[in-house]
C-alpha cells in the first residue's frame, strides 16, 4: 500500500491518503455531484411543473393576467431612445403569449411627465392589448404637477378616493392601491386608503387569495432611495389572516422578490429603462447599458392561478 502520510484523522482514519482512499473520496465527491445535479433538476421542475402549467392553460377556471410596468412614455434619454417602441414590443408580446389574459395591469409610471399628450398616447396604445380588461395604478411620474388629476381623468373611472379600487376575478380578490400621491420620500397610503383596505377585506374568507397592486413597493426594498411605503405595515396587518397574499409593484425597474410570513412581494421590471440595484450608484437614475444589453433588462410578467392552489405562479419574461 502506498501511504502518503501516516497521521490519523479525526475519526481514526488517516489524514494522508492511500490510492484506495483517494479513489473512495473521488467516488463520494462524484456521488455528491450527481446527487446535486439530480436534486437541482427535481427542485427546478417543482417550480414550474409542465403538467401544472398545462393544467392552467386548459382550465377555463384558471386565472391568467399580465403585469407591465414603468413605460415612461415621453422619456427621452440615452438609457432608452425609443420607449414608445419598447412599449409597443411589450404590448405585442402580451398579444402573442399564446393565451388571452383575463386582464392586464399596468403598475404605474405610464407616462414620464404626465402631459395630456402622453396620457393620450398611452391610452391609445393600451387599447391595442388583446385582453379582457386593462387596469392601472398611478406612478409618481403620472402625477407630476396635479396630484393625479389628469391620471384619474384618463384611468380613474370607477375608482374611489384618489384612484384606489378593488375587484374580484375567478375567486381571487385584487386590491389596487395608490401610494404615489402624498409621498415625500417614501410612498404613502394615508388614512382614507388604509380604512378602505380594512373595510374591503373585512368580509372575505381567510382562504381567499389576495393580490395587491401598487407602484411603490409595500416592503422596505431600499428606503434610502424611497423604495418603500411608510404606512404599508398598517395595510398589511389587515391581510395577515389570509393564507395567500401576493403584492406586485413597479417603480424599481428590476425584478426583486421578498417573502414575509404569508405575504410575498414581487417587484417588476420595466418596459423603458433599468435603474441601478439598491445602493449602487448615487441614486435611482436611468442606467445606460452597453449596446444590446437593454432588451434583456426589460420585460413583462404573467401570472396564473388555478383554483384550489395555494399560491400564484409568477413568470417573468424578457422583452421579446
Amino acid at each position: 500500500m502506498t501511504t502518503l502520510e501516516s497521521a490519523h484523522g479525526p475519526e481514526g482514519g488517516p489524514v494522508g491518503m492511500s490510492r484506495r482512499q483517494l479513489l473512495r473520496h473521488t467516488a463520494w465527491f462524484g456521488a455528491a455531484v450527481v446527487l446535486t445535479v439530480t436534486s437541482g433538476e427535481v427542485i427546478s421542475h417543482l417550480g414550474t411543473p409542465p403538467a401544472a402549467a398545462a393544467a392552467v392553460a386548459q382550465d377555463p377556471h384558471a386565472l391568467r393576467f399580465v403585469q407591465i410596468s414603468d413605460s415612461h412614455l415621453g422619456f427621452h434619454g440615452p438609457a432608452n431612445t425609443d420607449v414608445t417602441g419598447s412599449f409597443s414590443r411589450a404590448i405585442n408580446q402580451v398579444n402573442t403569449l399564446g393565451f388571452r389574459p383575463d386582464f392586464v395591469m399596468h403598475t404605474g409610471d405610464l407616462t414620464h411627465l404626465s402631459t395630456p399628450a402622453q396620457f393620450d398616447q398611452v391610452r391609445q396604445m393600451l387599447g391595442g392589448l388583446r385582453t379582457g380588461q386593462v387596469f392601472t395604478v398611478p406612478g409618481e411620474h403620472d402625477s407630476v404637477d396635479d396630484h393625479g388629476q389628469k391620471y384619474r381623468a384618463a384611468f380613474g373611472s370607477g375608482t374611489r378616493g384618489d384612484g384606489w379600487y378593488s375587484f374580484d376575478i375567478k375567486g381571487v380578490h385584487f386590491i389596487a392601491l395608490v401610494n404615489t400621491l402624498a409621498l415625500e420620500k417614501l410612498g404613502h397610503l394615508g388614512t382614507d386608503q388604509l380604512e378602505f383596505v380594512r373595510k374591503d377585506v373585512a368580509g372575505l374568507s381567510s382562504d381567499t387569495p389576495i393580490v395587491v397592486f401598487s407602484h411603490i413597493p409595500l416592503f422596505a426594498m431600499y428606503p434610502t432611495w424611497g423604495w418603500g411605503t411608510d404606512d404599508a405595515t398598517q395595510a398589511l396587518s389587515y391581510l395577515r389572516r389570509f393564507s395567500s397574499v401576493t403584492c406586485l409593484n413597479g417603480h424599481v425597474h428590476q425584478l426583486f422578490t421578498k417573502t414575509d410570513g404569508n405575504v410575498t412581494f414581487y417587484s417588476a421590471t420595466t418596459t423603458a429603462y433599468p435603474l441601478p440595484h439598491p445602493g449602487q450608484g448615487p441614486g435611482p437614475i436611468p442606467l445606460t447599458l452597453p449596446a444590446g444589453q437593454l432588451g434583456p433588462a426589460l420585460g413583462i410578467r404573467d401570472v396564473s392561478y388555478q383554483p384550489g392552489q395555494h399560491a400564484l405562479a409568477i413568470r417573468d419574461r424578457r422583452l421579446a
Binding site: 446527487l35 427535481v42 414581487y266 441601478p276 440595484h277
Partner: protein
C-alpha cells in the same frame, strides 16, 4: 449512539434544513432573481446531496463539502445585508422566519462538523517540553 456519529447525523439534518429553506425560497420567488435564483437552487440541491451522503459516510471530502455549503450560505447571508451580492440586498432577518432558521441551522451544522476535530484535540496528550 457514538457522540461523533450523532454529531454527524445532526449536522446532516441541519444541512438538509438549510437546503429546505433555500429550496422553498427559490420556489416561492427567488428563482426570478438573476444569479441569486440559481445560487439558491445550487445551495439547496448541494445541501440535500451532501446531507444524504453524510448519513452514509464520514469521508473527509463530504465533511468538507458540508462545511463549505453551510459557510457559503452564511457568507452570502452576511454579504446580502452589508455589501450586497451582485446587487441583491436584503435587510435584517427578513424573510421571516426563513432567514433566522437558516442562519441557526447553518451555524449548527458548522459547529457539529467541528466536533470530531474538537474531540481529537481533547484526546491528544499535551506536548511536554521537558525531556
Amino acid at each position: 449512539m457514538n457522540p461523533i456519529l450523532l454529531a454527524r447525523v445532526t449536522a446532516a439534518g441541519c444541512l438538509a434544513g438549510s437546503g429546505v429553506i433555500h429550496a422553498q425560497l427559490y420556489l416561492t420567488g427567488y428563482r426570478t432573481i438573476p444569479w441569486i435564483g440559481p445560487a439558491f437552487l445550487l445551495q439547496a440541491s448541494g445541501s440535500f446531496a451532501v446531507a444524504l451522503l453524510l448519513l452514509l459516510s464520514s469521508a473527509a471530502v463530504l465533511r468538507l463539502a458540508a462545511a463549505a455549503i453551510a459557510a457559503g450560505a452564511l457568507v452570502g447571508f452576511i454579504a446580502s445585508r452589508t455589501i450586497g451580492v451582485l446587487g441583491f440586498v436584503e435587510y435584517g432577518l427578513l424573510p421571516a422566519p426563513q432567514a433566522l432558521i437558516s442562519v441557526l441551522v447553518e451555524i449548527g451544522a458548522l459547529a457539529l462538523l467541528a466536533v470530531p476535530f474538537l474531540d481529537r484535540t481533547a484526546a491528544r496528550p499535551a506536548l511536554s517540553l521537558s525531556r
